[in-house]
Every structure is written in structure tokens, then in C-alpha cells.
């Protein structure tokens, strides 16, 4: 135990001397989350739409629906502005009196917004009583898309930065010769792995707390569940990242090779973690997510933050993450056998 403490203390001391790395671990996730929030949660986009020979009644409805409507005298000059990128869509009336819509079309999300807007404008015909009353089981009408994938991002950043730092620092231990020196002392292999877990775990906890506090209190991310559970899942995710990072660093011989693990180990996890909807994917491929720690972390984080899930709902995810950490740590103890059999 004394040796584990000594190792953990050493890692903490190293961190405190290396302000830049500490800043990367603690502040970089906050910066990226803020940027994400700004990108995905900015003002509602106004749609600029050109009209040509459109009945004024329809123009007025489009205007009511929120479009910035510009009337043109002839279709050709409207289409010219569409080509120049000044307009998102041009709406006109055909000979048979049917309206015709031309979309700019290079950004599907904008195209969808235009179509939705026109639908809303035309629905004005329907009386309001016919519309259903809407209630939300989870979330609310003003929940933005950032609120939905924010929990996943929080998990992702905890995972990513801890993975990188733990991997690099364990690698350094090997390349600088200190690991060999360490193994010439009576420290046991499992004490090395545990020491790393304790030392880094402390900073992982700090990071998890900071991210959770920042995203809920400062960024105002949608959050209905318990912040304690959120911290717990974040910490478990960091532990998985920590054990995986140190394990994989045994198979790297330079910092650059650690970076090479990012596209292999980190990026696929991001795809399977729920940032993107997987329903369109081949069901067989979807199954791959069961080996991805981030999938469980993201699932639990989403459940806690959006659906206010309690221990009963998240415990399975928590145990799986704990299991991943235990397996990775054990493999790491075995991997150290390469350097010393005892």
C-alpha cells in the first residue's frame, strides 16, 4: 500500500509540475463543449426565400411562418440570386396554378427546414382544433439538438483526454528507462497498475466534476437526473480510458504511435456511442457497439441527464464499465510481465 501511495503521489506531483498538461486535461474539454454548444445551439436560422408571381396570400403565409420573403418580378432573376447563394429557395406558380419550389439543395438540413416551413405555411388551412395537443415524455419543446447529444460528448471527452494522457505518461515511463528502474525495486506489477489508477483517477475525478458542473451550470445543458450518478458514470468511463490507455501504450513505442490509436480505438467508439443514429446501419454491424466502452457510458449519461434514470436503470452500464476497467487493468499487469516476470 505504501508503494501504491508513493506512486500515486509521484504522478500527482508530476501533474502539478506540468501545468500545460493539467490545463489540457481540465480545460480543453470545457473549451470544446462550449464551441459545440455555440455551433449547434445558436440562433434559429432564418430562411431567405424568393417568390415570383406568387399570390400575395401565400406570400403572407410564408412570411407568418418565419421566412424572409423577397418578391421578384420574374422567375429568371430569382433563380439568378438562388445561384449566387443569396436565397435558400425560390417558389413560383406554374401554369396549372400549382406552386413550384426550387431548392438550393447543397445542405440537406436547410432543404428540410424549407420544406417544413412551407408545410407549416400551407397548413394554415387546417383549423387549430384539429391539431393534437403535444406532451413530452422526456425532454421539452425547447430542447435543442445539443441537449440530446451533449451527454454523449461529455462522456466522449472524459474518455478521450484521459486515454491520451494515461497512454502517453505510461509510455514515457517505459521509454525514459524509469520503468526498468522501477522494476529493479521491490514494487509489484499490480502495484504499478494500481498506483497509476489511483494517481490518475484523482485527476479523472477532478475532470469529471469540472465537466459535469460546467456543462450543466454554465452551458445550461438539459439535465433532469442526479448529478451524483452523472459523476459516477463519468468517473467509471475515465477509469476505463485510463486502463485502456496504459494497456495499449505497451504496444506503442513512441508518442506518435499513441496518436495512431485514436482513429483505431477512439473514433469508432464515437460512431457507436449514439452521436449518430445507428438505426440505418446493418443490424449485424450495430452489434459491434457491445465491445465499446463509450457506448455504455453514453447510454447511461443520456439516461441520467435526459430521462432522469436512477440506479436501477444505469446499473448495468456501470457494471459493464467496471468490468472493462478490471479486464484492462488485469491485462496490463500481464503485459508488464514482458519486462519482469515477477
Amino acid at each position: 500500500m505504501m508503494r501504491v501511495n508513493a506512486l500515486a503521489l509521484r504522478i500527482i506531483q508530476q501533474f502539478l509540475r506540468d501545468r500545460r498538461t493539467l490545463a489540457l486535461l481540465l480545460l480543453a474539454p470545457l473549451l470544446i463543449l462550449t464551441l459545440m454548444k455555440l455551433v449547434f445551439d445558436g440562433q434559429a436560422v432564418t430562411i431567405t426565400m424568393g417568390t415570383a408571381q406568387l399570390p400575395s396570400e401565400l406570400s403572407a403565409r410564408l412570411d407568418d411562418a418565419g421566412a424572409d420573403v423577397r418578391a421578384y418580378d420574374d422567375l429568371e432573376s430569382a433563380l439568378e440570386d438562388l445561384r449566387k447563394g443569396k436565397l435558400e429557395a425560390v417558389i413560383t406558380r406554374q401554369e396549372n396554378n400549382q406552386p413550384a419550389l426550387t431548392l438550393e439543395g447543397s445542405d440537406p438540413s436547410k432543404s428540410k427546414a424549407v420544406l417544413l416551413l412551407i408545410q407549416n405555411a400551407l397548413r394554415g388551412n387546417v383549423s387549430t382544433e384539429a391539431l393534437p395537443a403535444v406532451t413530452y415524455l422526456h425532454g421539452s419543446s425547447d430542447m435543442a439538438s445539443f441537449d440530446s447529444f451533449g451527454p454523449v460528448l461529455i462522456g466522449f471527452f472524459s474518455f478521450f483526454f484521459v486515454f491520451l494522457l494515461a497512454g502517453v505518461s505510461f509510455l514515457r515511463e517505459r521509454t525514459s528507462g524509469t520503468l526498468e528502474r522501477l522494476l529493479a525495486t521491490p514494487i509489484r506489477r499490480q502495484e504499478i497498475v494500481t498506483g497509476y489508477l489511483v494517481g490518475f483517477g484523482l485527476f479523472a475525478l477532478l475532470q469529471a466534476t469540472l465537466i459535469a458542473w460546467f456543462s450543466v451550470k454554465v452551458l445550461g445543458l438539459y439535465m433532469t437526473g442526479s448529478i451524483g450518478y452523472m459523476l459516477l458514470i463519468n468517473l467509471l468511463l475515465s477509469l476505463t480510458a485510463l486502463t485502456l490507455g496504459t494497456l495499449l501504450s505497451s504496444f506503442a513505442s513512441s508518442e506518435f504511435q499513441i496518436i495512431q490509436f485514436i482513429p483505431i480505438v477512439i473514433v469508432p467508439q464515437a460512431f457507436f456511442s449514439g452521436l449518430f443514429n445507428l438505426d440505418a446501419m446493418n443490424p449485424w454491424l450495430q452489434k459491434l457497439s457491445i465491445v465499446m466502452p463509450l457506448y455504455y457510458g453514453a447510454d447511461a449519461m443520456r439516461g441520467i441527464m435526459i430521462r432522469a434514470e436512477g440506479w436501477a436503470d444505469i446499473q448495468q452500464d456501470a457494471y459493464v464499465l467496471l468490468g472493462f476497467s478490471a479486464v484492462f487493468a488485469l491485462l496490463n499487469v500481464l503485459a508488464l510481465r514482458k519486462h519482469r516476470k515477477l
Partner: protein, 258 residues
């Protein structure tokens, strides 16, 4: 404390190596070496660069494992975890934590050897004074010169007062005055019962050892006191004796412990 222990079981030699072979890939780096080092000896391992000195001392301590042959330290067959308590090791390349201060490095390694707070503090003061680093302990190791790092590594190896001290080129980059005092200290340690095993390629250091092992291409070509080695070859110095012996080995095929 270690000195007292060694007196009670002094029958066992410090290090016994028999028929040890170690290869890296196809290359035999240590080839069927046998060697016995009694307790309390100041033993020098002398040989040119790449001859296998570092590899041999790693095998002696159980840090590395032989492909063939056996190694035992203080009567215990290696590798064994408990034995890691009983020797001090100074690697050829300084394995220090650069961001940490000298004292933090010493505290860390001292705790790994299980020294308690009080004796640790005392030992840090003693060993730091010995290598003349007392005023620099608060500095981060990044601010150390090459020789200062060497001295810090040496101090760390001495911290837990081991029965066997294995030093891989301890005086590289240390100035002549300090080098002299380090050797004086090694002599005192040996006299008090600590077995000191030193690798070197400096001839005048070699002459200060009780016994010398001359190593070349992974073979021990002679093991004897410096005076006897010089006498047996009829040469004027260790340097010449080494050259004469390596020629003999090359043409006569005579090797290992004589």
C-alpha cells in the same frame, strides 16, 4: 542493519553465476559466463563498449533473465521478488523523473524500498551529502547537469543501505575530485561488508577494485586482482594486460574464469 544481517549468514557469496548465456535475437551477448563474487568485495567489471557489461549486471540482479544457466544472490536463486530489497541498482542511463525535484525523486524511490518517513529523511540527507548534492535537492531534475543526475542516481541506489550494490558506470560525467571521493566511499562501504559491483571502462578506476573481471564479446577473459592480472600477463598496466588477454582469447580460445 544490512551489515549485521550479512554477518550472520556470511557463508553464502554475494553473487554466484554459473553457465549463464543471454542472446538478443541471433546474437549471443553473454556466452556461458561463470563467476563468483564473495561478500564485501569491491568487484570491477571492465570491458569495451558493447562487450556485455550492462547485460551481465542486469542478469546478476535478476532484472533480466538468462536464457541458460543459473544466477543466485546471497544464496537465493534468482529471480525472486524479495531479493529486490537487498540490492541497490544504478542504471547506466539515468532513470529519473525529470519534472520532479531531486528530493521528490529520492522520496519516491525510498518509499518503494519501504523506508519510513524518519529514516528516509535521514538517509536522504546522508546520501545527498555523500554525492555533494545537498544544496541542489530542491531543484527539478531538468535543471541538473549530466554529472548531477549521475550523482542523484547514485544517491538513490545507496538510500536503503543494500547488502549488494550494483553500479553501472557510476562515475561517468563526474569530475575528478568528486570521483575520488565517490571511490573512497565505495571502498568504505566494501570494508563495512557491502558487496560493491561496478562496471567501468576507466583503467585507473579498475585498479582500485579488489578483483576485476575483464569482459570481451560476452566472455570473461580474466577474473583476478588487478595486480595478479598485470603480473600474469607480464604487462605494465591493466590496459596492456587487457589487450594482451584479448589477443590470447582470440587465438587460444581460452575464456571464462581462469
Amino acid at each position: 542493519m544490512s551489515v549485521l544481517q550479512s554477518e550472520t549468514v556470511s557463508a553464502e557469496p554475494a553473487v554466484v553465476i554459473s553457465g549463464v548465456t543471454r542472446s538478443f535475437g541471433q546474437q549471443r551477448i553473454i556466452d556461458d559466463v561463470s563467476l563468483t563474487i564473495p561478500r564485501g568485495e569491491l568487484f570491477g567489471l571492465l570491458g569495451p563498449s558493447g562487450s556485455g557489461k550492462t547485460t551481465l549486471v542486469k542478469l546478476m540482479t535478476g532484472i533480466d533473465k538468462a536464457d541458460k544457466g543459473s544466477v543466485s544472490m546471497l544464496g537465493v536463486p534468482l529471480p525472486k521478488l524479495e531479493m529486490l530489497h537487498r540490492f541497490g541498482y544504478m542504471a547506466q542511463s539515468d532513470a529519473l523523473y525529470m519534472e520532479l525535484s531531486g528530493r521528490q525523486n529520492m522520496m519516491f524511490f525510498g518509499k518503494l524500498y519501504g523506508l519510513n518517513r524518519q529514516s528516509l529523511r535521514q538517509r536522504i540527507d546522508e546520501t545527498a551529502a555523500l554525492v555533494d548534492l545537498s544544496e541542489h535537492l530542491h531543484k527539478p531534475v531538468t535543471a541538473f547537469s549530466g554529472g548531477m543526475k549521475r550523482r542523484l542516481s547514485l544517491a538513490i541506489a545507496l538510500l536503503h543501505q543494500p547488502e549488494v550494490l550494483v553500479l553501472d558506470e557510476p562515475t561517468v560525467g563526474i569530475d575528478p575530485v568528486l570521483r575520488k571521493s565517490v571511490w573512497k566511499e565505495l571502498k568504505i562501504l566494501a570494508k563495512n561488508g557491502t558487496t560493491v559491483i561496478v562496471t567501468t571502462h576507466v583503467m585507473d578506476e579498475a585498479e582500485k577494485c579488489d578483483r576485476l573481471g575483464l569482459i570481451r564479446d560476452g566472455h570473461l577473459i580474466a577474473v583476478d586482482s588487478p595486480a595478479s592480472i598485470i603480473a600474469s600477463t607480464g604487462c605494465g598496466s591493466i590496459e596492456e594486460a587487457f589487450i594482451a588477454l584479448s589477443q590470447q582469447q582470440r587465438f587460444g580460445g581460452q575464456h571464462d574464469e581462469s
